[in-house]
């Protein structure tokens, strides 16, 4: 095979790898500039290498406070949105009912609405009701925009759910509640864990909707936005790099767990085939 032929055959792969480079370059820049030693207050130009800011990552009280607020907010958001979302997903997948289309629409439309509109509408409600803006309004807003995503993640898990397992539990005399807690919930756990992680990440990352509904509360993204004018401390890059590494480790762990589970299922399926029992689905 000539070199030209090989280049031609793999052209899409090379273009794809270039795009991958484009996706990863800014992340590399963030990590690189966490080791920068800027002379002024702006961290835009490379000056020299230092590990000073990694050693003093949590020295800036303002950053710490905003980070802590974001983490608390994301914790309650992911919990609330995942519970509400799981219940909706159960209803959508397990039941036939009047109004399914309307329910689907109510879940999809928030995803298809620009964040600026969601933020502005919520602020209109809060202003009209003279609600004081702060943690509560942030939590209301974050749960609101996270529910749809929780529904989607749990729903996709429920669709591939083997309902015979629940029937088996019922046949063995388990009450509906016991079946739910001992069979349904454990099998749904990967979906629920996925929804928790996704909604947590969405909440920590949210800027636009928070910008409208935070009042004087300052989340991590809001801190960065405010600090942009007066110069963003290098610690922000350090913390961003840390968060990135934590997320990478978490996702690797989840993928490894999933692979193990899939292998187990494949093995069981093989055993089933060997027994040559055809089960009509």
């Amino acid at each position: 095979m000539t070199l030209w032929q090989r280049l031609k055959d793999n052209a899409t792969l090379y273009v794809g790898l270039l795009v991958v480079f484009y996706m990863l370059a800014p992340i590399a820049v963030i990590a690189l500039f966490s080791f920068n030693d800027p002379t002024g207050k702006f961290n835009f130009e490379w000056v020299g290498f230092t590990t000073e800011y990694w050693a003093n990552a949590f020295d800036n009280q303002e950053i710490n406070d905003s980070l802590w607020l974001s983490i608390r907010l994301a914790f309650f958001t992911s919990l609330g949105a995942t519970i509400l979302g799981t219940l909706i997903a159960l209803a959508l997948v397990r039941y036939e009912f009047f109004g399914r289309k309307a329910a689907n629409l109510l879940i999809v439309i928030p995803i298809a609405t620009p964040e600026v509109v969601i933020g502005a509408a919520l602020l209109s409600l809060f202003v009209y009701a003279s609600a004081s803006l702060g943690f509560t309004t942030l939590l209301i807003a974050h749960i609101m925009f996270s529910i749809s995503f929780a529904v989607i993640v749990v729903r996709s898990r429920l669709i591939g759910f083997d309902r015979r397992l629940e029937e088996a539990a019922a046949d063995l005399g388990a009450s509906p509640l016991t079946t739910f807690f001992k069979v349904t919930l454990p099998l749904l756990l990967p979906g629920i864990a996925g929804a928790l992680m996704l909604t947590f990440a969405l909440s920590v990352d949210d800027f636009v909707i928070s910008n409208f509904n935070a009042g004087s509360s300052v989340t991590f993204p809001l801190y960065i936005f405010g600090a942009n004018q007066r110069g963003i401390p290098v610690q922000v890059n350090v913390i961003a790099t840390m968060l990135f590494l934590v997320a990478v480790i978490a996702i690797t762990f989840v993928i490894l767990q999933q692979r193990r589970a899939e292998k187990l299922v494949e093995k069981r399926a093989d055993d089933d085939n060997k027994a040559s029992v055809a089960i009509p689905i």
Binding site: N10, I27, L84, R94, A103, V208, I224, I251
Partner: protein, 290 residues
Amino acid sequence: MTTLRQRLVPYGLMGPGLLWLALFFVVPMFFMAWFSVSSGSLEAGWSLTWTFSNYTDAISNYTTQFGRSFLYAGAATIFCLLLGYPLAYAIAFKAGRWQNLMLFAVIAPFFTTYLIRTIAWKTILEDSSPVVSFLKTIQVLPSDGRVLATSAAVIAGLTYNFLPFMVLPLYASLERLDLRLLEASKDLYASATQTFFRVTLPLTAPGIIAGVLLTFIPAVGDYVNATFLGGVNQSMIGNVIQAQYLVINDYATAAALSFTLMIIILIAVMLYIRFAGTEALMGDEEEASA
């Protein structure tokens, strides 16, 4: 036999979540509509006056920003499609042992904060950055030219930030593609180009439409990229809405602008849902068969 109680179960399950969405998504829209035809001020309070001129005033005052938003978001969506399709195609069919790494690269940006990613682009495109000097050396940019505070910078930022939303639905639809159809096309003597345009592309149309919507909608309302990467001449409708609400406190104008934006997008989404159903946006094709 289903009893009434059993038939109420799904409503009980959905109730709390849908109520939350109704109270904090649907109801706020009404209040935004209320503000959009009201008059008043922060100090004097607001009252409903059915001032529909809020809309005509807002739209005529900010036509430029509206136009710019659709132009930038449209350009970013096209670039996302042009970059995202080869990437999704490569991940689905060509990546081999690189597949997981490439998929990881697509979602990796989600692991860093949106604002910091955008600021990283500001670092990359700074006047004295190596990238800008290189562009000047190869004469793409005049020696006194800059990249920041131009339309190009804002479109590049939007493209970068929303590319994953394009790649993921494209990848999902490419992965589901029945490869035997491509073989059949080849057997019938279609060239690679013909096969792509007449088989692959039409079959992945749902993925393309989902990707286009998921990219265009957040991009059109975005004001982060315009704030960080643009200058005064790059401000988008999101910047105007944000400033009107949070700085100037002119809720009537701001609400009229948001509502106009919402309605334009809603019409587009409704057309899409009529055409493709809610399933593609919800992430899978097969409807539940409960």
